[in-house]
């Protein structure tokens, strides 16, 4: 132990004496260990760590499926059948997410996400409120239910953590509600299927008779398995129930059920990107190890005299190796310490991008386990990069080391293998990582070239939700006045509204029938997306009307019901026919036949990388009023410059209405690629780090090689070698290593790129262009790293080189 501390003290002194070496090594290790720690933290939170609920492995999410839909909301009738018929699910509950307007005092109203929950909701999660209680049975009685349980975040933000909040009232959607409880901070149930935003508050679920119908799919369903029941068993039981319902109700013929653990629900969307990023940081860590290994190799060579003295004084080789490994460990622990700081910064960056919303549902933070992991990685890293240079250095020849550093001949044929191996390895790893980033970047460029079907430039969007009990005529009047006011704003060109704008990943769809055609067979009823738009919507969005007309002021309540369909709908259901003048009926708008008056071009509905075009039916707003709409403002100026003026107009019409989801459509388009672009950003960041580390590593190793071979250069010059001969010698040797590194890297990439396939769009995992560009780029960087030391070698004064003897 005493020897260990002695080695530690000596190592610390050496590190202090060579601040340049120490800084380079610590920086390389900090980048490698920090990147690894950050991504492992995220992966651990998303993939490994249990959700913050008691026995969370027993929690499941239940969805309905259709042949063309992997998971969708559940109808209340189906939910009740699932709940009542299941024996393997201990408790099951449903939640209906609603946008609500929270108004209080003189402050601006705020849009919050409310969850209207069924009776057992809190029991499913087995979490008790920290203040007050959850809902009593009485709250579910008809005419009751103006009570709310707050999320911890809303309690903190709007009620200042008031411990006396129980019983206090506040205004929600224009109605007085009473607070009955506050949930704990880590109770963050997601409000949508993509698990992004947590609920701000909960209310008892009250559905109208229409909403309770089997065809109205609007609920998220969660359950808690009985102890000892596996998710597979629950899945089998739910499949049986769904099959029974399909036999019982024709409308359910094609419907199935999907059961996933809640953990899987959270983890699945991020798993591919996280695994790729884990691989990427692993490669960065390996490059950092090779980099520091190279530095240690060079330092070991310069300490041959010291080792020879130690050996002469009786130290065994094992003792020398142990001393060097202690120094490596010291270095790696320093690197690991700095790496944790890098990780903290990177986690902030990651939670801002890849998992901004996710991190509100799952806490992403460094805990003791992660710190332990970082420590283990640091120790392992120290061993990995330290062992070979230590073994190499311990082979010092005592006599030669003491006399002339073994200068009888220059470096032998076997001694350069480690150095050459490090160069080839670093380059191969950098090539692999760069090709991964290159493929993602190429894919991203392709996606940005996708036409969304509308002009997203100079387009501002925001949402407004009128109270659910607002009268239809009030709703029409409100939006009509709002649009008129906004149109009058300087800088506004066109203003329109739609229920769900493209690319925001919310939709409303349902079946339809066509006049004069036989009804669809059971379960064969096709779906169309329901879009409710004001009459200038297509002009505001610059969506071309390809046939017929758009909506006009005559298409209002009381006139002939009309719809506009998109080209996909026209081609699917009226192939070779002109759909103009034909009539269709949707379940949503009742029995009235709607006349098709126009066909518009398709738009991209969900994301730019989803090439599936949906059949869409547009309804005129005045014939199908909705309370919550997204307003689109086409501007002649920078759209964000109009936000305050727009807010003023909304407030001028109704001061209790919050204006929310305010963003430009360019932002919406960019956000639709959000996860992908952030994965790309991180991957590029890691690839850039790898390039810098590999470039400096190769340079360092070759510069070390030149310094080791300066005597050889002197000999060659003495024998008649010209400047060009020496330069060529080192460039050719370096070029051979570059070619070897490229070949190994390209070969590895061909194998590993397959794992990226699910993240690519329009680009093959073996995309020749990307492979070629990366190979050229890396060759140039590596050649520069080779050329500089080669040039330095050619400037060696042979006399100085030989004088060392």
């Amino acid at each position: 132990m005493e020897n260990f501390f002695q080695d530690l003290r000596f190592g610390a002194r050496l590190l202090c004496k060579r601040p340049g070496f120490t800084a380079s090594a610590v920086l390389a290790l900090a980048l490698g260990i920090g990147g690894t720690t950050a991504i492992v933290t995220l992966a651990s939170a998303v993939l490994l760590r249990p959700l913050p609920y008691p026995d969370s492995e027993r929690l499941i999410a239940i969805w309905e499926t259709l042949p063309e839909m992997r998971q969708g909301s559940v109808s209340d009738a189906n939910f009740r059948d699932f709940r009542d018929q299941s024996t393997r699910v201990e408790s099951m509950a449903a939640v209906y997410a609603r946008d609500l307007s929270l108004g209080y005092g003189d402050e601006d109203p705020e849009r919050v996400v409310g969850g209207d929950v069924s009776r057992d909701f809190f029991r499913v999660f087995a979490v008790e409120p920290t203040v007050g209680r959850t809902f009593s049975d009485d709250a579910y009685a008809p005419g009751r239910g103006r009570v709310a349980v707050l999320s911890h975040e809303l309690w903190r933000r709007r009620f200042g953590r008031d411990p006396q909040v129980y019983g206090k009232t506040f205004v929600l959607n224009g109605q007085l509600h009473r607070v009955v409880g506050v949930m704990p901070a880590d109770y963050r149930v997601a409000a949508d299927a993509r698990q992004q935003a947590p609920f701000d508050l909960f209310r008892p679920l009250h559905l109208s008779a229409e909403e309770r119908g089997r065809g109205n799919h609007m609920l998220q369903v969660y359950g808690r398995l009985r102890p000892g029941v596996s998710v597979e068993q629950a899945r089998a039981e739910m499949d049986t129930i769904a099959a029974r319902l399909a036999q019982q109700y024709p409308s359910q013929a094609e419907r199935g059920v999907r059961v996933r653990t809640l953990k899987e629900q959270f983890a699945a969307p991020l798993r591919p990107a996280l695994l790729v990023l884990l691989g990427a940081v692993g490669l960065v860590l390996l490059i950092a190890c090779a980099n520091v290994g190279g530095l240690l190799l060079a330092r070991g060579a310069s300490r041959q005299g010291e080792f020879a003295i130690r050996l002469a004084l009786g130290a065994g080789r094992r003792r020398i190796v142990r001393q060097l490994l202690t120094e490596s460990l010291l270095l790696s622990l320093l690197g690991g310490g700095c790496g944790v700081l890098v990780a903290l910064w990177l986690i902030d960056l990651v939670t801002l991008g890849l998992a901004e919303q996710l991190s509100r549902v799952i806490p992403v933070e460094i805990d003791l386990g992660i710190l332990g992991f970082s420590l283990a990685v640091s120790v392992l890293t120290g061993l990995v990069f330290g062992i070979l240079p230590a073994l190499s250095a311990s082979r010092s020849e005592v006599l030669l080391g003491l006399k002339d550093g073994g200068a009888r001949a220059t470096v032998g044929p076997g001694q350069g293998r480690l150095r050459r191996g490090l160069i080839v390895g670093e380059l191969a790893l950098a090539v692999t990582l760069s090709i991964g980033a290159g493929l993602m970047a190429h894919s991203f460029v392709k996606l940005q070239g996708v036409d969304p079907g509308f002009d997203e430039h100079n387009l501002l969007t925001f949402r407004v939700a009128l109270p659910e009990d607002a009268e239809d005529r009030e709703v029409v009047a409100f939006y009509s006045r709002l649009i008129d006011r906004l149109k009058a704003l300087p800088g506004a060109q066109e203003v329109a509204a739609i229920n769900h704008p493209p690319l925001i990943r919310q939709n409303m769809n349902g079946g339809f029938s066509i006049e004069g055609r036989p009804p669809w067979g059971p379960g064969q009823e096709p779906l169309t997306e329901y879009q409710v738009v004001t009459r200038d919507y297509f002009r505001a969005m610059k969506i071309p009307v390809v046939r017929g007309r758009s909506f006009s002021e005559h298409d209002r309540n009381g006139t002939t019901g009309v719809v506009v369909i998109n080209e996909t709908m026209a081609n699917l259901y009226w192939p070779g026919e002109d759909p103009i003048g034909k009539r269709m009926r949707t379940g949503w708008t009742g029995d009235e036949w709607k006349q098709i008056v126009g066909v518009v071009a398709d738009t991209t509905r969900f994301s730019l990388d989803n090439t599936r075009r949906a059949a869409e039916t547009y309804f005129p707003f005045e014939q199908a009023q909705l309370r919550a709409m997204a307003v689109m403002v086409r501007t002649s100026v920078e759209p964000r410059s109009l936000v305050e003026a727009v807010r003023g107009q909304v407030r001028g019409l109704d001061a209790t209405l919050p204006m929310y989801a305010t963003q430009t459509m360019e932002q919406v388009v960019a956000d639709s690629l959000g996860d992908r672009s952030f994965s790309l950003l991180l991957l590029c960041l890691f690839a850039l780090t790898a390039l810098v580390l590999a470039g400096t590593g190769i340079y360092g190793l070759l510069a070390y090689q030149v310094s080791q071979r300066s005597r050889e250069v002197g000999i060659r010059m003495a024998l008649g070698a010209r400047v060009g001969d020496v330069r060529r010698l080192f460039v050719v040797e370096g070029a051979k290593l570059i070619v070897a590194g490229l070949l190994v890297g390209l070969g590895t990439s061909v194998v590993l790129a397959r794992f990226l396939e699910s993240l690519l769009y329009g680009v093959s995992a073996q995309d020749g262009l990307t492979f070629g560009i990366v190979a050229v780029l890396l060759s140039v960087i590596a050649l520069v790293a080779v050329y500089v030391p080669a040039r330095r070698a050619s400037q060696i004064d042979p006399m100085v080189a030989l004088r060392s003897e």
Binding site: A407, R408, A409, T410, G412, R711, A718, G720
Partner: protein
């Protein structure tokens, strides 16, 4: 022993009694000085050295450590520049030669033998010896022929595929001698060629140099060992950067 103190201002020492050579001056140093400068210190490694080396001579350069022997040899070998004076090699002033021409001259005119052998560890015996010919751009067939001959001459042809670290010190120095002579240079410069060898191997290398001299080579050799100066036709003694004595002698012949 016939020693004469040289008056450095008296001109070139062609008059040294007992001088053995062909008469043609191959290397002439005239008033050569070499000063090494650091920030705070000027070191006069050579000071006003005058020396002629004739074709066919075997000159031994002796003197204590720091007397300037190796610096003198480096200047003779075009590895170092002069601070003052002139140096003519085969009648041509070195200062008039372009720097880019120096490697070619070193390659064709001069063969080096170093105390530490200075073989290249990554290259086999054969490749080490072939190196000067490679730089000369000789065709492979001619290279092979010359290398075989040189290795044969030093008795190392059976080790042609070995690497330097597989050879003894004496064998390494034999390879170094083969490399020095393979290009058939008129001048051989040897800097303590026996310094790292035991007496048996040292004798053997000296026998080899003596044979080369007998074959017509001009040799300048730095040595500390008085026994080996007897192989030379002339011994130049240096002290504090100056040639302080010269002694012509009848060389001990190779056995």
């Amino acid at each position: 022993m016939n020693t004469e103190r040289i008056d450095q201002d008296a001109g070139h020492p062609e008059h040294v009694p007992g001088y053995v050579g062909s008469g043609e001056v191959l290397m002439r140093l005239d008033g050569v000085s070499k000063v090494f400068c650091t920030d705070e210190l000027e070191t006069h490694a050579l000071s006003n050295v005058r020396l002629d080396v004739h074709a066919g001579e075997f000159v031994s350069i002796a003197g204590p450590s720091g007397s300037g022997k190796t610096t003198l040899l480096s200047i003779l070998g075009l590895l170092d520049s002069l601070s003052a004076g002139t140096y003519a090699l085969a009648g041509q002033s070195v200062s008039s030669i372009e720097a880019s021409e120096l490697p070619r001259i070193r390659n064709r005119q001069i063969g080096f033998i170093f105390q530490s052998f200075n073989l290249i560890g990554d290259l086999s015996v054969y490749d080490n010896v072939a190196l000067p010919l490679t730089y000369r751009g000789l065709p492979a067939a001619e290279r092979r022929q010359r290398v075989e001959a040189a290795l044969e001459r030093v008795g190392m042809s059976h080790r042609r595929k070995h690497f330097p670290n597989q050879l003894s010190g004496g064998q390494q120095q034999r390879v170094a001698v083969a490399r020095a002579v393979v290009g058939d240079p008129p001048v051989l410069l040897a800097d303590e060629p026996t310094g790292n060898l035991d007496s048996r191997n040292g004798d053997s290398v000296m026998e080899l140099l003596s044979e080369l001299h007998a074959g017509g080579a001009t040799i300048c050799m730095v040595t500390h060992n008085p026994d080996y100066t007897r192989y030379a036709t002339r011994t130049v003694t240096m002290l504090d950067g100056q040639v302080v004595a010269e002694q012509a002698q009848t060389p001990r012949l190779a056995q």
